[in-house]
Amino acid sequence: MDEMLLEIEDLKIQATSYPPGERPQRITIVDGVSLRLEKGKVIGLIGESGAGKSTIGLSAMGYGRGGVKLVGGSIRLNGQELRRAPSRVLRGVRGSQVTYVAQSAAAGFNPSRKLIEQVIEATLEHGRMSRPEAIERAIDLFRRLDLPDSETFGQRYPHQVSGGQLQRAMTAMALCPKPDLVVFDEPTTALDVTTQLGVLSAIKRAIRDFEVAAIYITHDLAVVAQIADDIMVLRGGEMVEYGTCDQIINNPREQYTRDLVSATNGEDPEIHPEGEPVLTIRNVCARYRGLAEDVVKDINLEVPPGTTLAVVGESGSGKSTLARVITGLLPPHTGEVIFDGSTLSPALKGRSKQDLQELQMIYQMADVAMNPRQTVGTIIGRPLEFYFGHKGKERRLRVIELLDKIELGEEFIDRYPAELSGGQKQRVCIARALAASPKLIICDEVTSALDPLVAKGILKLLRDLQKREGVSYIFITHDIAAVREVADTIAVLYQGELVRYGGKAEVLAPPYDDYTELLLRSVPEMRIGWLEDTLSALEAHLPCQAPEGAAPEMSATD
């Protein structure tokens, strides 16, 4: 108790902003934050983006990002004042006493050098160990962090390991010099859920084993609850609540914290599948005018609240037609669509404003899904005005709130779609759908026009929003990898018929029907000879019946 590792008192941090056409302004981004951290303890900093979490985390190293100045208060590490300390002192502290794990490990490694060299670099630089000792420690860390082939792992280059492994390697890098304090800046945010689990447990174990103190920065309360002793909740650069993990999670005092906790609790996927389905499709057949044959044939589906139904199939399988039936653009000739307990009028015209509001759609091509002559503010603001009558300032505030939800800033409000990147466009489309406070969003191939990294970000956003808002999705796609990430239930369509339908684990586990197998087999793997293997395997099984139990094991893709 007497041994206080880190003491931050009344910290005030300012940044200079350069608004276009105006004089530079100084804005305060962190104000009056104090915290104390003992040896071997973990404090979690939690808050939305822009809450100042990372800035505080970095200040523990006496560091401010470009343009950021630590203007007031004090930061003492092991009794040594870091604010306004000369850079010689700071250099000695950084990388030896305090180390940093960044959010994007992929961007944190030099792609042209082997991992081991980078992991031990800071340790050698500060003369904390000799080279053989450092290598030995690194290998030990690799083993503790569950990295494969820990002896030789360091010989690989960054591009030869996965994102999750890279994040662990970065953790190893941070722990290697035996620091007193490690700052984890959203280390698992860029990872998918299963990988996050592994990295999280590895980090937790490493912190415990080495008795280091840590500042763990995240926006995910569920994550921080696993790892922290104390939690500080931040909002807009100010401290909202500071207490033990147990107190914050189980007995939050502030309303904002309560909101955070309840939003996070709502995410537990086990809670949702019960309850009245949001959408039920019963015996639906539909065809386009002038066609002799139905495009979708006798489809029965359900979407439980707060879950995602993935509708999978190749192009022409009737996925998008099904979406048109649900939205009312193509009235089915038999069957019915039951939404939120009542039967929807088959045609769009017969639907009430409330039906329309609660059922939203996101399109594949964000480019053409937004009017090029409307600003982001109008695009997102129109549903608010149309459904809820928000006007003027109220509307603008709501738009900014929505922009924040899709992780875009207020400055986007006056931009036109042409001034956005592909991923940003799709985010704006998501915000437009969210603006209507829908119960169900139909996502029609929302990621297939995006590059994989951006697509991943969009999928993650959709998942986060589902957790927070409890909205259900119908996720139409041909991309099995995306399905694995988002789906709770899966429906496989083939030539307009439902060939397979059930929970994710069930649908993606053998034995498969012919078509599902083909679909799963067709996901390319990063492996030389995959194409030949897959083709010969398919030839053996298809088109003849796949023998029961002899179905090949599923290809691992993540």
Binding site: L329, L348, K353, L356, M365, V368, A369, N371, R373, F386
Partner: protein
């Protein structure tokens, strides 16, 4: 923005000069419009820069006032053509189905009759006043506006953002005015420039034939008609309004071309 090309600049300057002259006609013109101030067909002099006309009125003043009439009538008629044509064109494209079919076939029917003949027939049974003239020309030209705006809007109406607005439950008005019109506007504005020129030619033709603007009011076509006999005697009075018509047509054309060029990325060709 890129620099405006020289022909466009010339067009802009000339057209602006014409419009300013029309606007400020009573201030600029040295004499009254129907004031007889000299002999018949006097040659150009310090008092009458362009000479006098067939009954001794100052030709410059007459041209200035005539231009005012021509440009005013042409502007209003173009506005009518745009409003009627674009409104029905966008409506037909968005609603589709038999409404579209009916409107389009009707427009085809009107377009199949040469518009000059059509106007001659209509104006021969109706009193020739300026409002009637404007309506007849405007409605005839609106068929072209209809064709273009419908063609542009049909492409736009199937875009996802229009579908998104429909799924939101937006009414026809919002879809047409807020979603489609702003995106169709560029080619339509360029087409409006073109239509303006055609209307100028149209009204001049009608006046020349004697069923346009009625004397003693002047317009360029009418001035040509009044002075056409002088050509036989080597009097250039009839050629001057013709030159004015040509200069206006070419200058507006240069500007319209530039607008069209800047918007070639958007769909929609021109016709007419």
């Amino acid at each position: 923005m890129r620099r405006t090309p020289l022909p466009t600049l010339i067009g802009l300057v000339v057209a602006a000069a014409f419009f300013l002259t029309a606007l400020l006609a009573p201030l600029i013109a040295p004499y009254g419009m129907s004031e007889i101030v000299g002999d018949v067909w006097e040659p150009a002099s310090a008092a009458h820069w362009l000479g006098t006309d067939n009954i001794g009125r100052d030709l410059l003043s007459r041209l200035i006032f005539g231009g005012r009439t021509t440009i005013f009538v042409a502007l209003v008629a173009t506005a009518v053509a745009f409003a009627v044509g674009a409104a029905f064109g966008l409506f037909a494209a968005v609603v589709g189905g038999w409404v579209d079919l009916l409107l389009s076939r009707f427009v085809d029917l009107v377009m199949s009759i040469p518009s000059l003949i059509f106007a001659l027939v209509v104006l021969s049974v109706m009193p020739v006043t300026t409002p009637v003239l404007i309506m007849v020309i405007g409605l005839l030209e609106s068929t072209r506006m209809y064709r273009l705006s419908r063609a542009v809007a049909v492409d736009l109406a199937v875009m996802d953002f229009v579908e998104a607005a429909r799924l939101r439950g937006e009414g026809l008005r919002w879809v047409i005015v807020r979603e489609i019109l702003p995106n169709a506007l560029s080619p339509l504005i360029a087409e409006m420039g073109m239509r303006f020129i055609f209307v100028v030619l149209f009204i001049s033709t009608l006046s020349f034939l004697g069923i346009g603007i009625q004397p003693p009011n002047a317009d360029w076509g009418g001035i040509v008609k009044e002075n056409k006999d002088g050509i036989v005697y080597g009097i250039p009075a009839a050629l001057l309004p013709a030159v004015a018509i040509a200069a206006l047509a070419i200058s507006v054309n240069l500007v319209a071309d530039w607008i069209l060029e800047r918007t070639t990325s958007l769909k929609g060709g021109r016709n007419g």
